[in-house]
Amino acid sequence: MSATAALPESQIGRVWTRFRRHRLALAGAAVVALLLASALFAPVFAPQDPTLLDTALRFRAPFADWAHPLGTDELGRDTLSRLLHGGRVSLTVGLVAMVTTVATGALIGITAGFLGGWIDTLLMRFVDTMLCFPQVFLLLVVAAFVPPTLLSISLVIGLTSWMEVSRIVRAEILHLKEQDFVAAARALGASRARIMFRELLPNAAAPILVAATLKVASAVLMESYISYLGYGVQPPLASWGNMLTNAQGYFDTVPWLAILPGAAITLTVMGFNFLGDGLRDALDPRLRMDP
C-alpha cells in the first residue's frame, strides 16, 4: 500500500512542499510517529507489567511516585504501563480495521466503477443500504454476536465502515477509466483484472491513502466505543476504551484514571485526522476543503 513508491520523485517533492505548509498536519504526523513508536516499544518503555496487581498500591496519584509516573488504578496496576500497552492494542485494532476497510472499499469501488451496468447498480444500492444503519448500531449488534478477539473486533469495525471508501474509489475510477491509457491497455488485449489492478488502482492511490489515514482515526474511535460499552477488547487485556469503563466507577474521586485514556484516544484520533487532512490538501488539491 505504498502510494509514494508509485509517485515519481519530483511529485513527491511537490507533495512534500504542500504538506509542509500545513502546520497542523505536521503536528499530526509527529503525534502519529510518536504513538507508533511508543506502541512498538511499549514493553521497553513501560515501567512494569501492565497486568501486575498490587493491592497495597491502589489509586496512586500521578507524578507522586517515580515507580508509577502516572499513578495506579483500582487494582494497583501501573497506569503508564497500561496506557502504553493499551495503545498497542488500540492502534493494532485501528490499523487492521483500516486495512480491512480500505481493501473491502477499494475492491467494491473499483469493481462497481469499472464494470458498471447492473453490477454497479447492485453494489451501490448495497452501499446505500449499509449507510442507512448507524455505524455504532451495526457494530454493536455484530460485535455482540461474535466472540471478541482482537482480530474479530478489527474485522467487524472494518466491515462496517468501508462504504465511504468504496464511493470515493468508484468516483475516481469512473473518471480514470475514460482516459486513453485504459483504451490503450484494452487495445493491447489486457484482461479486466490487469486493467483494474495494474492500470487503474495505482492511479487512485492518493484518495485511498487519505481515506486510509482518516479511517485509522475513526477505527480507534470505534474500538474505544465498543470497548467502553463492554463488547470490545476484554480485560485483563488493556485498551484505552476498557480503561475508561473501569475508571468511570471511580470518576468522582480519581478523575485522572478517566482523563488519561480519554486524552490518549483524543490525541490519537486528532493525530490521524490532522495527518489525513494535510495529506488530502497535499495530494489531492481537488478535494481541498479548509484554508
Binding site: P8, S10, F181, A184, A185, N203, A205
Partner: protein, 323 residues
C-alpha cells in the same frame, strides 16, 4: 488480387439515448452509420472530417474498443465484428492504436519501461530479462535513449511521449496501426518529426496505417488514399491526388476550399458552408449533407445516395455527381 488487410462494410455504431429517470430508450445517436472502408497492406488510408463526424468512433470500432452495432469488419480475411474477448486476443497483436493526447494515453503511475513491457506481459512473450532488452530496442526504434525506461511519462515532452506511444503500438509488431489524430496535439515543429518517424517505420516494416485527422495538410503528407466522412457516413473515397485535385462531392470541395493555399496567388474560390453540422441523434433524411449542400435537389432530401465508383479507386456518394 488478394483480399485487403482490412475490409469494413456497412459498419454501424449506434448509441442509445436514454431518458434520465426510467432509462427508457428515447432515441439513437448514429455515430457511425454504414461505413465502408478498405485498407491494403502497407498503405495509408486517411479518414478526414469535422469533429463529430464519427471518424474516431469508426477507428475505435475497428479496433473493437467500442462494440459495433452492425456491419462487418474483416481483418486478414477473418470476420471479427462479433468476436468475444478471447477470440479477439490474436487480433490485438495485429492491430494497434496511437492516441491523440500523449498526456492521457500513458499511465502516469507507470514507468516508461513498464508501459512498454505491458504488451509482452499480456501476451506472455519472452522472459522478464529479455523483455528489458526488447523495451530498450523499442525505445531506440522511436529515437529515444534506453535509459528513458526508468522514467515516468510526465518527465517527457509531448513529442517524446508520442514517440513512447508509437513504441507501445509497435511492440507486438502489428500489421495495422490506427493513428487517432496522432500529431494534432503537438507543436507544428514536432508534428513533422512524428510524421517522418511514422513514415520511416512504415517503409521499414510494411505497416498499414489508418490516419484519422481533421487536418488536410497532414493528410496530404501521409495518405495514399483518403476517405471523407460526414455525419457518420463516408461521402467520398479517392487516391490522394484525385481527392486534392479532382474532388467531386460538394462537401469534400467545401472542406478543401477552407485549406489555405500553399502556393500564393493560385486561388481557388472559397466555399463557405451554411448552417451547422446537424446532431447525429437526428440526422437529416436522405443524404445527410443535403440541408447544407449548395447543389441539393429534391431527390437528395428523400433518398440516401449510394456510393458509386467514378474512376479507378474513386468513389462518391452523391446523386448529383455523374461518372
Amino acid at each position: 488480387m488478394a483480399e485487403a488487410l482490412l475490409k469494413v462494410a456497412g459498419l454501424e455504431v449506434h448509441f442509445p439515448l436514454r431518458s434520465p429517470f426510467l432509462q427508457r430508450r428515447i432515441g439513437t445517436v448514429r455515430a457511425v452509420d454504414g461505413v465502408d472502408l478498405e485498407v491494403a497492406r502497407g498503405e495509408t488510408l486517411a479518414i478526414v472530417g469535422e469533429s463529430g463526424c464519427g471518424k474516431t468512433t469508426t477507428g475505435k470500432a475497428i479496433l473493437r474498443l467500442i462494440d459495433p452495432t452492425g456491419g462487418s469488419i474483416r481483418f486478414g480475411g477473418q470476420e471479427i465484428a462479433q468476436h468475444g474477448t478471447a477470440a479477439l486476443a490474436p487480433f490485438r497483436r495485429r492491430m494497434q492504436i496511437v492516441f491523440q493526447d500523449p498526456y492521457a494515453s500513458l499511465n502516469p503511475r507507470m514507468t516508461v519501461g513498464s508501459i512498454l513491457a505491458a504488451p509482452f506481459e499480456i501476451h506472455r512473450i519472452g522472459q522478464a530479462r529479455d523483455r528489458a532488452e526488447r523495451v530498450a530496442g523499442l525505445l531506440r526504434t522511436v529515437g529515444l535513449p534506453p535509459e528513458a525506461a526508468r522514467r515516468y511519462p510526465h518527465e517527457f515532452s509531448g513529442g517524446q511521449r508520442q514517440r513512447i506511444g508509437i513504441a507501445r503500438a509497435l511492440a507486438l509488431e502489428p500489421e495495422l496501426i490506427i493513428g487517432d489524430e496522432p500529431v494534432s496535439a503537438l507543436d507544428v515543429s514536432i508534428q513533422a518529426q512524428i510524421i517522418n518517424l511514422m513514415k520511416r517505420l512504415q517503409a521499414e516494416r510494411g505497416l498499414a496505417y489508418i490516419m484519422i485527422s481533421h487536418n488536410l495538410a497532414v493528410v496530404s503528407h501521409v495518405a495514399d488514399r483518403v476517405a471523407v466522412m460526414y455525419l457518420g457516413r463516408v461521402v467520398e473515397t479517392a487516391p490522394r491526388e484525385q481527392l486534392f485535385f479532382n474532388a467531386q462531392h460538394p462537401y469534400t470541395q467545401a472542406l478543401l476550399s477552407a485549406v489555405p493555399e500553399p502556393v500564393p496567388g493560385r486561388r481557388r474560390s472559397r466555399q463557405v458552408l451554411q448552417g451547422d453540422v446537424p446532431s447525429p441523434a437526428r440526422p437529416p433524411k436522405g443524404c445527410h449533407f443535403h440541408p447544407r449542400c449548395p447543389i441539393a435537389q429534391a431527390r437528395c432530401a428523400e433518398e440516401a445516395p449510394a456510393s458509386r465508383i467514378i474512376a479507378p479507386g474513386h468513389a462518391v456518394a452523391c446523386h448529383m455527381v455523374t461518372p
